[in-house]
Subunit: 343 residues, 3 copies
Amino acid sequence: MAKTNPGRFFEDYRVGQVIEHAVPRTVSGGERALYHALYPARHAIYSSDEFAKLCGLAESPMDDLIAFHTVFGKSVPDVSLNAVANLGYAEGRFHRPTWRGDTLRARSEVIGLKQNSSGKTGVVYVRTEGRNQRGELVLDYVRWVMVRKNDLAAPAPDTVVPELAAAVDPATLLVPEGLTFADYDTVLSGEPHRLRDYAVGEIIDHVDGVTIEEAEHMMATRLWQNTSKTHFDVTPRADGKRLIYGGHVMSMARALSFNGLANAQMIVAINGGSHANPCFAGDTVRAWSEVLDVAETGAPGVGALRLRLVATKDGSVGALKGADGKYLPGVLLDLDYWALMPQ
Amino acid sequence: MAKTNPGRFFEDYRVGQVIEHAVPRTVSGGERALYHALYPARHAIYSSDEFAKLCGLAESPMDDLIAFHTVFGKSVPDVSLNAVANLGYAEGRFHRPTWRGDTLRARSEVIGLKQNSSGKTGVVYVRTEGRNQRGELVLDYVRWVMVRKNDLAAPAPDTVVPELAAAVDPATLLVPEGLTFADYDTVLSGEPHRLRDYAVGEIIDHVDGVTIEEAEHMMATRLWQNTSKTHFDVTPRADGKRLIYGGHVMSMARALSFNGLANAQMIVAINGGSHANPCFAGDTVRAWSEVLDVAETGAPGVGALRLRLVATKDGSVGALKGADGKYLPGVLLDLDYWALMPQ
Amino acid sequence: MAKTNPGRFFEDYRVGQVIEHAVPRTVSGGERALYHALYPARHAIYSSDEFAKLCGLAESPMDDLIAFHTVFGKSVPDVSLNAVANLGYAEGRFHRPTWRGDTLRARSEVIGLKQNSSGKTGVVYVRTEGRNQRGELVLDYVRWVMVRKNDLAAPAPDTVVPELAAAVDPATLLVPEGLTFADYDTVLSGEPHRLRDYAVGEIIDHVDGVTIEEAEHMMATRLWQNTSKTHFDVTPRADGKRLIYGGHVMSMARALSFNGLANAQMIVAINGGSHANPCFAGDTVRAWSEVLDVAETGAPGVGALRLRLVATKDGSVGALKGADGKYLPGVLLDLDYWALMPQ
């Protein structure tokens, strides 16, 4: 009997199937420090226990994207080992922060299947959730991937395409327990701009760029125990390149967005996201944001800003898609999220 | 008086000599996180406090190889600074886990000496042990290295070659206090295969490959405070290459072996080991294992598997040595160890 | 209104101006482990909780340069984002160690201004201080940088050049509370040399070299939240090179100096420093030291050694400046500091 995991193929999925992902993971101060070494992350709540306390939290939580990447990484051996493409995200919600010493585990439910007309691939929709050691929900999100068929003769399943919200309703955003921006300090946070200073439609060029190295993206991707071969091994591709984990670009862009969005402190929802073009070592990643919406929350002084975060490798700002409706070749990531910001 | 350490030469060693190695080292959550960033490590006991508790431990211990590398690194300035080659290991035993916050120190006793016929080098055998801050033995192992003579006129010592066991007797394997696999969860651990599923002689191709970068192996080697110049400095070699610390390949191969040996949880003995060929940045490391033996232990549900772990840079599987008895050029590491596995 | 930080230009500074730097930072075991992965650091007080206890401390503190880099990094967006050159340091004093879990914040006071004759740049002198979460002073130092003018028509300020001490008076050196070298163990520390073994004028070649990689210096520089674009982005320079943060060379040289100065345990003052020439990935950094002075302190067994630490990229030893008074092209760093050493 073969001992190694070949991954699932399209014909191995059934709507309603629930997959418990292996290898729970304890994250702590080491993961936090590595996150700061790998990304130019400076949002003050994630940098300082003291600033977090000023905002009503017990200590500085782990960056939201540490939780996201960890849960995502757990799902890779079961969901995307044979994926051709990671197509999109929707309905992502952060239910509570992850604290030093928490242990995250993950499970996914298959919520949709659609075989492609070629008969060689199909789209699998999963809702993945991460829980901590107390069984509390930490985050959940929908992801859909294109997966190869292994047995081309396997019959096509009934097509089920889930209805997904275009964006998380701001009335349902979850504010971490105890969070307050009533005593928010914009000197310590790094910028004076509050919710009222941002206008829908406004474009922010985050200016700074980071040229990516192989060692960095591999360290990041391993830290999240993401086992996708394409990130680590030069031998499969004819050009000898390693494809960079899309989440690495996501964290890089989010960290770069500090410059202009220093007070967009916590990510509370991911409305959608596309890895528009591949990223390779040597690319210089830059980012720009567009303000999509503003909202209130019930928490003291806490507003919410809906942002489109775009990572590029050509330094362009504001341009996203061509006349053909396709992403421009310099665009790496198009992420739509809600962040909490002082009013 | 010269202040820097020139290292010992062959004529500086005496059988029975005991060397206390300098710079004790506290290891904690940061070292643990870095281990997961540097290697694709996923064995669940080392990944999750919760999984470790399910196995009867107080928390997730440090990876066994963190303890090994730390103790090994301490010995380098005294044992192998002038080494020509690291020839082998034997009788390695892990006596207890290393926990977050433990401080490791190391000492070596010279147990054998044999001058080579050239008169320019000799083989030094040492038994190295690591202890924690409570003075408890953490691991010990025999290592032998070929060391240069500085004074070629120094007389050859009496030849003493220690008798070394071909393998650690499984009846003497040390199971960590409290360890139980009675409630072992193969869904969380990542694979269903238990001790009974492995047959002596079985070969497992671990499939995945990692292309090595300079920054990664240097960070790892520094983390273990290994000061061997050849890993860090491009100037000594005519080809401008940095030789990768053999232990980096060991950890990489062990981590890759998760795919097929996810339940070979804890290393309890190192029976032998050879760094068969040098590894350089740009090499793509893969691994395969051969099942050498199976054994019982007294602990609940805990069996032991003796494995040969082979790292390669050419992707070959199952081939180890040529007709001349020498390692094939694509083989990097040949490691023989005992691991604990659920029955 | 532009949201991103353009940095201050020369005409934006006033003598007496106090700038609170943003984004306080909690440092802990993760930063400590990364420091050991990025630099070959082996000074025993920073490596081992047990050794630190033997020296009267509660636990192993963070390396002094972790505190320095963190405070320095905080000041970059306000002081040196538009700097042409980082000209020098003086009057640096470490007031107390930084412990795991401490949160550092920083502020700078402008203490001098001098417009250059070109009218295009000027020198800004700041005294920067770092404090912990209890408001206690951790370190302070004077730094001066050459900064571009944005508005060339802005009038030149009155020239104020602060009088700076050539060196910190050893009678004012601050020994950490409780520190004692009465029971100092030179076997564990790695070298037998004590204060009395060093003679003023003595030159020590630290022998070892490290070839620098892009991924490493960027990880280090990000860890200190230093946002200077030139360290991360290949696009601004015609040669596509990234300039390495001078503090990376400082930490590398200090770590290399263990070999010959293993007992120069804690840095307590920075008398002066110059980043003599730029460092780029691929350079092999080596170091040598010159003993400049010796002194007593009131603490049991604790002496102080004043050292010139020179980092080079050409392996030269002892040569610093040419006949023209300028640093030789192979010199990267010339740092003058006081360290505590057992008598």
